[in-house]
Symmetry: C2
Subunit: 417 residues, 2 copies
């Protein structure tokens, strides 16, 4: 999953914007936005030809606003209003979306978020199911249009930055297995298994058995069919249940791109579930998630239209919330931010190439919403306002792990992992 | 620096200990210790032949207590009383210290520390100088007796677990340089440089200039003499000042084994100092420190007799205290716990081999105090009650770092880094 940088709402030091408009309310709105987005190299242009330049630098794009209601909405809830108006075509962007959003992020990066972001509230198993349904059950055919063959919908791992998306996703699957030190006969519990690519790869390539949990009916149907097709149905069990219901005893626990949906209030519950199933001697695990360099609220538009209930945590929030309360030990943390920027650029390109088919499946507003979502997520990873963490952990005194990390980087003859 | 696991003070479920003694106060003391250390495979034996077995398992050692005052002190402040009495010879251990302390740690590991450990209070620059003087200015000749040739007094990196200590320390120096992506011409600021091994290695091997800060007069005198001897005095400047006074502009910041002395209240000050000097585009840094899997108080005896003002933080405390407030991005975290257990085993062996010379320099109580300190630190890393973290960090959008971590693991023809 992917999120976008929140837009600012507070005031910043006033500076006379380059504004031209004869209407007082319009002038006020333009001036207010010019203050909030001061320094962003974007021109805002209105229905009547009036405009504001947010920076003295050359603009990377022109944002055209079609009517006064949209302008005034932008002054009130910029993130949500921008997304809604962009989807409805009441805002049009002349220029590339991604560089524009990168410029917005970079200009705003110098303004740290004050205090702690508000809590999201409790996410019950029923709520979790609702949230997941809203995004992942849109339709397997839709995702198949622009994801690669693996149907992996999380950050890939580019051992070579020019690798194809599919090869980078395969490398990610293998890289995760190595970090988990899988051995034939191990039992693995996966929480949030998507369309099943990792579970099937683990069973096929590493001789393990897997219990893979998910609450998306569409993804589970797809994954189960794949398991049968691959002859792995006896090794991989896809379970329609919440991460809180994981059971049994596992040599390894893995969760790729689920933590963003868990919610901070539930972090200790997730930790207890992991601690409960992990082998007490050498059980180890991996959490792969979108995070931030410091706690910050989740983008309101993304939370409303793309990922209800989502949150991108700071690393410290995951450690103090999930792992520390049950005494699990962090072995390794890797930040793969540039890899997610690359992954998202691939997805956005592939989505654009199939946009007409998406429009036939849904409508133009859907296409524009998803374009903005993928572009803003790419911009967030390019500008560093989002990070991608892989945290490997295990029991505090586990001496079964390799002496050094060299083993993660052995290559096959063809250069692949 | 190294620390030991706190001994427990609270009660645990009562169970009839195997106690034999006719004196009521002695019976009470034995019973109380047997409850506190229930499950630890140790026999406590008293001056009158009475004893308590803390576990039904076979004892790994017998702790002989010489008098009733010592026994009663143990019931009140176990960590401090044990260390003081051991140093004074009022407690004698029959059996190996390290396995005994490992067994203590393992038995107590299942009892999590409730709540948050108390704050240590402010450590001013004057206080920091005092704390450092108390440990690191004991005498270069003393440390030279049992450290290896590099005089590195922090966790080594064993690319081969059978490597010599010196080779593992050399590997650590090189490994840190790789994590910092040093390039010829870079300027590096080091905070807490010990006897200068890393600063000189960086200048000699990577063509960088270094400003290395320390407040230990003995260490600085040694380091400056080494710089002159190595012909590097024009490339490496050893500065007698606090980490808060670091100045200039650095391509890289590094601190090995200093954070344990900084104190939690000063973490944001350390973060601001790093942020101030680091290049805003591609400045990167590395913090190497002893930590824990969850916040826990520092051992009271170590704090009183070995490392005044020290604290071993949880990773989350370092992230939320040092790095997050100034928006620095975590690139990589590695836990080298087994390497510190190995390093400490080397140090303890070398210390024992020179114990008679140490006794001539100081006295028997000093030898016993340092033996207990090194043994308990080894036990903490063996049992997982202490961890060793290397955290690599930098600017959130830095794209100059390598695409993968492969580059950290390239070997020379002789197998070394």
């Amino acid at each position: 999953m992917h999120v976008a940088q929140p837009l600012p709402s507070g005031p910043s030091p006033p500076r006379p914007p380059r504004v031209s408009s004869s209407h007082l309310l319009t002038q006020w709105g333009l001036a207010r936005l010019a203050r909030a987005f001061r320094g962003v190299p974007v021109r805002l242009e209105l229905w009547d030809g009036s405009y504001a330049d947010f920076s003295t630098a050359e603009s990377v794009a022109t944002v055209r606003v079609r009517d006064r209601a949209t302008l005034l909405n932008l002054t009130m809830r910029p993130a949500v209003a921008f997304g809604e108006a962009y989807a409805a075509g009441r805002i049009v962007v002349d220029g590339d979306l991604v560089p524009m959003l990168v410029a917005v992020n970079q200009a705003l990066a110098a303004r740290p978020y004050p205090g702690r972001p508000p809590r999201e509230g409790r996410i019950t198993p029923a709520r979790a199911r609702h949230n997941v349904h809203a995004h992942y059950d849109i339709g397997n055919d839709f995702y198949r249009l622009w994801l690669d063959e693996t149907m992996a919908y999380t950050c890939a791992y580019f051992t070579d930055p020019e690798a194809t998306l599919e090869r980078a996703q395969q490398a990610k699957l293998e890289y995760v297995c190595r970090k988990l030190q899988l051995r034939p006969g191990d039992h693995v519990i996966e929480a949030g298994c998507g369309w099943g690519a990792l579970a099937l790869h683990m069973a096929r390539t590493h001789g393990v058995t897997v219990s893979a949990y998910n609450v998306s009916a569409s993804q589970l149907a797809f994954a189960r069919a794949e398991a049968v097709r691959a002859g792995l149905a006896d090794r991989v069990t896809f379970v329609n249940d919440d991460y809180r219901a994981i059971a049994g005893r596992a040599d390894a626990f893995v969760s790729i791109g689920m933590l963003e949906h868990v919610g901070r209030e539930q972090y200790p519950e997730l930790g207890r579930a992991i601690d409960r199933v992990l082998d007490p001697a050498r059980g180890r695990g991996l959490l792969h998630f979108i995070g931030r360099d410091a706690p910050m609220p989740f983008n309101a538009w993304i939370a409303e239209y793309i990922f209800p209930g989502a949150y991108a945590p700071a690393l410290s929030e995951v450690l103090s919330g999930v792992l520390e309360p049950c005494g699990l030990s962090v072995f390794d943390v890797e930040n793969l931010r540039p890899h997610y920027a690359r992954t998202l650029t691939h997805w956005l390109d592939r989505f654009e190439a199939r946009a007409d088919r998406v429009q036939k499946m849904f409508d133009e507003a859907f296409v524009r919403t998803w374009r903005l979502y993928l572009a803003s997520a790419a911009a967030c990873f390019l500008s560093g306002s989002l990070q991608l963490f892989q945290v490997t952990f295990g029991r505090p005194a586990d001496d079964s792990r390799p002496w050094t990390r060299d083993v993660l980087y052995r290559r096959r003859a063809d250069g692949s992992l």
